[in-house]
């Protein structure tokens, strides 16, 4: 039941774009995206809700395809600060906030 993320790892140069995908085998109420830097706590990036509402606070965009039970995170014009491990967290019930996380995608941005 754990969502599957792809790719597992990405290496970019500054200014390049990346897409991280998250696929679920179950219907989703919401998808959360978090970034974790080495030795630090995961930090919230964005929530995508069933019905299309998107909530976030960084210049990173995402999509949520309810029919395909997939979400994608788009990182455009990447910066060095984007380096870290990205996790998608999926919720199926809509009333607990309990998230099941994917295995993570490690992103390294080089100068």
């Amino acid at each position: 039941q754990q969502p599957v993320q792809s790719p597992q790892a990405v290496i970019l140069r500054e200014g390049e774009d990346a897409v991280i995908n998250c696929s679920s085998s179950k219907a989703l109420y919401s998808v959360h995206w978090y970034r974790q830097k080495h030795g630090e706590a995961p930090v919230f990036l964005m929530i995508l809700l069933k019905g299309g509402e998107q909530k976030g606070h960084e210049k990173i965009s995402a999509s949520f395809n309810e029919k395909k039970q997939q979400s994608s995170l788009y990182l455009t014009a990447s910066q060095l600060s984007y380096s870290g491990t990205y996790f998608c967290g999926t919720e199926w019930t809509g009333n607990t906030g309990k998230l099941i996380f994917g295995q993570g995608t490690t992103l390294q941005v080089k100068p």
Binding site: E40, A41, P42, F87, N95, G97, K98, F101, G104
Partner: protein
């Protein structure tokens, strides 16, 4: 407090000993979650609290693991008779309402090493 606080930040214990890990959530957050993260791995759900009750304990690995929450605030995760496979970072998170549109705010975790 300003964020989720966890203590201790590091804990080294001998196999077979009991340990207690503490989490202080953000004030006013009704929902609290415990996750485990093994080295280089993802976040594994352990237990979820809404207020002081735990409607979902499905992620607790065995009966050696237990957790409680009091005063709709502090939570303690207890691991009895620790084993080497319990070594991991234990992360606590809280959210305002425990709904699908509430972000999780994570603490910095407790790194547990069982020798």
């Amino acid at each position: 407090g300003a964020g989720v606080s966890q203590s201790p930040s590091n804990k080294v214990t001998e196999k077979g000993k009991d340990v207690e890990l503490r989490c202080d959530p953000i004030s006013g957050h009704t929902a609290l979650y415990w996750y485990r993260q093994r080295l280089g791995q993802g976040l594994e759900f352990l237990i979820y609290f809404q207020g002081n009750s735990a409607p979902d304990k499905s992620g607790l690995p065995s009966d050696r693991f237990s957790a409680e929450r009091t005063g709709e605030s502090v939570s303690t995760l207890t691991i009895q008779r620790t084993q080497q496979e319990d070594s991991a970072v234990y992360l606590c998170a809280s959210s305002l309402r425990g709904r699908n549109n509430s972000p999780l705010h994570f603490g910095n975790g407790t790194r547990l090493t069982v020798t």
